[in-house]
């Protein structure tokens, strides 16, 4: 009953406002989903693995060549992985993907110049994504973010983000 009431309040707020704080968004992942996600798990894993491969390959290319055209591919892959991970309630994978997405969006829009230590951090975070998806495949759970992951996320996070 309480959950239903909370859900209604949240839905009302979404209808009234486009702005959506991230902490409310995380809560909604638990309260609003009414579909059997298991049915989509295999498809999630298949597509998530493909996105992680793109991220690995393009990051390596970008690190060695510095070709700015690769930023779009890195942005698109992280954007897609973010959306489907949050949809499946894999919120830590969603969070990491979102930070990578924001990083490459800003780089594309010339709001930041990627530094080598930041690219190294992203490489480590992509490794986390890979292991976490493997964990979902084998054990049906993602790997929780630890202090090291959070430090890496802080490194690539830009304070001017509005959410």
């Amino acid at each position: 009953m309480l959950i239903a009431s909370y859900k209604c309040k949240l839905e009302e707020r979404i209808n009234q406002e486009i702005y959506l704080p991230e902490r409310i968004y995380s809560c909604m992942m638990y309260t609003m989903q009414n579909v059997d996600l298991e049915e989509f798990k295999d498809l999630y894993i298949k597509t998530a693995v493909e996105y992680v491969h793109i991220l690995k390959d393009k990051l390596e290319e970008y690190t060695t060549e510095g070709n700015k055209n690769l930023l779009q591919a890195l942005f698109m892959a992280s954007h897609s992985l973010k959306g489907q991970s949050y949809a499946m309630n894999y919120n830590d994978i969603g969070k990491v993907s979102r930070e990578i997405e924001l990083f490459f969006q800003d780089a594309q829009n010339l709001k930041r110049i990627p530094q080598s230590n930041e690219l190294d951090a992203i490489g480590e975070l992509i490794e986390y994504l890979s292991l976490s998806i493997e964990s979902i495949q084998n054990n049906s759970v993602e790997i929780p973010l630890d202090q090291n992951h959070n430090n890496l996320l802080s490194l690539i996070h830009k304070n001017s983000y509005t959410i």
């Binding site: 486009i18 991230e22 973010k82 959410i163």
Partner: protein
């Protein structure tokens, strides 16, 4: 009723086309803006679910092209968004989209309600 899903992400394509088909809608799927526009012009769906960030032509470009084409300009569009796309949603609404839905919520009853409101 015919609904076009224009979305590059295979995961969301599959989810939304499966669920809409189960609800009795005829579903058409396109994977990018170019393909989507061609499909809209050929099939004239009753409504369009449109992703914003896509290859070839993005959702904004699709909305702009639709506006210029009287054959398809009146077809209602509901845009897909995800976390962090608040500004994108505002821009899409200013370009003529009727409403938006956060595709990661999987709140299907809300989607059906919006579809019914828009196409009634």
């Amino acid at each position: 009723m015919k609904i076009a899903v224009i979305e590059d992400d295979v995961f969301f394509q599959k989810f939304y086309s499966t669920r809409l088909t189960e609800q009795g809608f005829e579903t058409l799927v396109a994977s990018d803006g170019d393909e989507g526009l061609a499909m809209i012009r050929a099939q004239k769906p009753n409504m369009i679910l449109l992703d914003i960030i896509m290859p070839k032509k993005n959702g904004f470009e699709v909305l702009e092209e639709m506006k210029k084409d009287p054959e398809i300009s009146s077809i209602p569009v509901l845009v897909f968004s995800t976390l962090g796309q608040e500004d994108d949603v505002k821009r899409a609404l200013s370009l003529g989209a009727k409403d938006y839905i956060n595709k990661s919520f999987f709140d299907f009853s809300n989607l059906i309600s919006k579809i019914k409101t828009i196409v009634k």
